[in-house]
Amino acid sequence: MKVFARNRALRDLAITLVVVFGVGSLAMLFAHVSPVVGFGALFDGAFGTKEEFAETLVQATNLLFPALGIAIAFRAGLFNIGAEGQLILGGLAAGWLGAEFPLPGYLAVPMVLVAGALAGGVWGAIPGFLRARFGANEVIATLMLNVVATLLATYLVGGPLAQAGGGDQETATLPKAAQLPDLLANSRLTWAFLIGLAVAFGLRWVLRRTVFGYELRAAGDAPEAARRAGIDLGRTALVAMALAGALAGLGGATIVAGVLHRFNTGLSPGYGFIAIAVALVGNLDPLWILLAALAFGMLQSGGVAMQAEAAVPREVVSLVTGLVIIALAGRRVLATRRTT
C-alpha cells in the first residue's frame, strides 16, 4: 500500500479501476448480464480486430484534444468546463470554411485545422478575458458559454450558414483536399491521431521547458507567490484559457476533417465532458493523458459492441465516467485551484 501513499497518480489509477470495474459489474448484474460477458464484449469490441482497434484510437483522439485543453487550464489553476462548446465551435468553423472557401492543395487541411483552433481559442479566451478583466468566475462562465455555443452552432447551421447540399443540421461535405488522410483502410483512423500525439508531446515540452509553461504552472500552484514574483496572473489566465480553447477547437476540427468530413450539430456525444475524466485520470500530465484517452476511448468504442453483443445498455460507460470524475475530485492538484 505504501506505493499508493507515495504516488498519487497510481492511487488515482487504482480508484479509477475499482470504480469502472466495480460499478460497471454491479450495473451489468442489474441488467442480468454476467460482468465477464459484458466486459468481454466491451474489450472484444475495442480490440478484437484491426478496424475495431482503429476505432478505439479514433475515440481516444477525439477525447485527447479537449482533455489536453482542460489539463492546461487546470495547471494554470483554472477549471475549463467549456471544452464541449469550444470543440463544437472549432468544428463549425472548420466545417464551414473548409467546405465554402477551400484553399488549394496542401494548404487546405492546415487551414481547416487552424480555423478550428482559432474559433475554439476565441471561445476559450472570452471567459479568460472576463476573468482577467472583471474577476468573473471562469467555471460558471465556461459552463454558460457551453450552452451558448451549442445554440449558436444550431442557429448558424440552420440559418445563415445553411447549405444547399447539406442536411438540416450540417454543413456541406469537405472537398477531398481538405480531409485528413487515412492511416488505415476501412477505418476512420486518420492523421488526426498523429497530430494528437505530436501536440501531447509538444505540450509537455511547453509545460516543462518554457518560460510560459513555468509561469503557467506557478500561477496554478502558488498564485500569490507567482504574483509577487512579477507574473501577470490576469494575462496568464487569459492565455491559458485561449490555449485550452484552441486545443479543444483543434479537436473539433480534426473530428470534422478526419471523421465526419462535415460539421454536424451532433458532432460530439459529450467529448468535452468525458475529457474532464480523461484529464483527471491522466494526472493533468500530457503523456499520462495519452494513456487515459486510450482507456476512455476503449470504453467509448467498446461500449457500442457491448450494447449490441451483451445487451448491456451502453449508458453504463457514461455512468462509470461520471463516477470516476466524482471519485477523483479530491486530487490535491485541484485543491489549489483559484476560486475567485
Binding site: 467555471v139 450552452v147 465532458f273 475524466a277 455512468l319 470524475i325 466524482i326 475530485a329 485541484l334 485543491a335
Partner: protein
C-alpha cells in the same frame, strides 16, 4: 382587446409553469451556495427527482408517494456532493460535474432496466392540474420561507456564516462541515421537487434529456438573483417568461436559439459585473478543512 388579454393570460400562465422548476432548483442552489458549496450538480438533482418520482408513482400508483420519493432522491444525490464537499473537502465543481454526468446516465440506464425501452418511461399516474397549481404556489411559499430562514433564524445565520468565513464560524462554535452538509442536502430536496414538477406535474412520464439544462439555467438564476431567495425567484420568473414567449417570438422572426441563450447571456453579464454589484458568498466553492 379580449383576445389580447387572453394571449397575455396564456403567456403569464405558461410563464409560471416554465418558471416553477427553475425556482425550486434555484432555491436549492441559493441555500447550498450561501453555505459555501457551489452546486453545479443541480441538473443531476433535477434528473434524479424527475426520474425517481416517475418510477415510484408507476410502481405504487400514488403520484404523491412518487413526489415524496423524488424529493428524497434529490436529497440523496445532493448528499453525495455534500459528503464529498465537506468530509472529503474535494473540488466541488469537479464533483458536481461528475454528478450531472452520472445522474443522466443512471436514469437512461434505469429506463432500459425498468421499462425495457430506451428514451422514455411509460405514462404513470401524475399529479394533475390541482397538483400542478399546488406546486406552483408552493414554489413561492418556499422562496418566502427560505428568505425568512436565511435572514431571521439562528440556523440561517450559521449557514451564511459558513458561506462567508467557515473558519470564523467554527471559532464561534459552529460545526461548519455539518452546517454545510445539511444546507446542501436540504437544498437538494428543494431542487428535487423541481424535477418532480417536470415529470409528474407538467407531464406524466420521464424522458431522456427532459431537464434540458434547467439546472444550469437555475445556476444562472442564482447568480442573476444575487444569491438571495427572492432575487433567484425573480430571475427564474424572468427566464420563465422568455421561455413562454419563445413560441410567439419565433413566429415573429426572432430565432428561438437567441431566446434560449438569454438566461446564459444574462448570467455572463451579471458575472462580469455589468448588472450592478454582484458578490458571491466569500467562501463559496472553497472547501473547508479544519486546521
Amino acid at each position: 382587446m379580449n383576445a389580447l388579454l387572453a394571449t397575455l393570460g396564456a403567456v403569464l400562465g405558461l410563464t409560471l409553469v416554465k418558471a416553477t422548476p427553475l425556482i425550486y432548483a434555484a432555491l436549492g442552489g441559493v441555500l447550498s451556495e450561501r453555505s459555501g458549496v457551489v452546486n453545479i450538480g443541480l441538473e443531476g438533482i433535477l434528473i434524479a427527482g424527475a426520474f425517481v418520482s416517475v418510477v415510484v408513482s408507476g410502481a405504487t400508483g400514488s403520484p404523491v408517494l412518487g413526489a415524496c420519493a423524488g424529493v428524497l432522491a434529490g436529497a440523496l444525490v445532493a448528499a453525495v456532493l455534500a459528503y464529498a464537499a465537506t468530509r472529503l473537502a474535494v473540488d466541488q465543481i469537479v464533483a458536481g460535474t461528475g454528478i450531472n454526468i452520472a445522474a443522466l446516465a443512471a436514469a437512461a440506464y434505469g429506463l432500459v432496466l425498468i421499462y425495457n425501452q430506451p428514451g422514455a418511461s411509460h405514462e404513470v399516474p401524475a399529479l394533475g392540474q390541482g397538483g400542478e397549481t399546488a406546486l406552483i404556489v408552493l414554489a413561492f411559499v418556499a422562496a418566502a420561507v427560505l428568505h425568512v430562514v436565511l435572514s431571521r433564524t439562528p440556523w440561517g445565520l450559521r449557514v451564511r456564516a459558513c458561506g462567508e468565513d467557515p473558519g470564523a464560524a467554527e471559532s464561534a462554535g459552529i460545526d461548519a462541515l455539518r452546517t454545510r452538509f445539511w444546507a446542501v442536502v436540504i437544498g437538494g430536496a428543494i431542487a428535487g421537487l423541481g424535477g418532480v414538477f417536470l415529470s409528474l406535474a407538467e407531464l406524466d412520464l420521464y424522458s431522456d434529456g427532459m431537464t434540458a439544462g434547467r439546472g444550469f439555467i437555475a445556476l444562472a438564476a442564482v447568480i442573476f438573483g444575487r444569491w438571495t431567495p427572492f432575487g433567484a425567484t425573480g430571475a427564474a420568473l424572468f427566464f420563465g417568461f422568455f421561455a413562454a414567449l419563445q413560441y410567439s417570438l419565433q413566429r415573429a422572426g426572432v430565432p428561438s436559439e437567441l431566446m434560449q441563450a438569454l438566461p446564459y447571456l444574462a448570467a455572463l453579464v451579471a458575472l462580469a459585473g455589468f448588472a450592478g454589484r454582484v458578490r458571491a458568498p466569500a467562501a463559496d466553492g472553497v472547501p473547508f478543512v479544519r486546521p
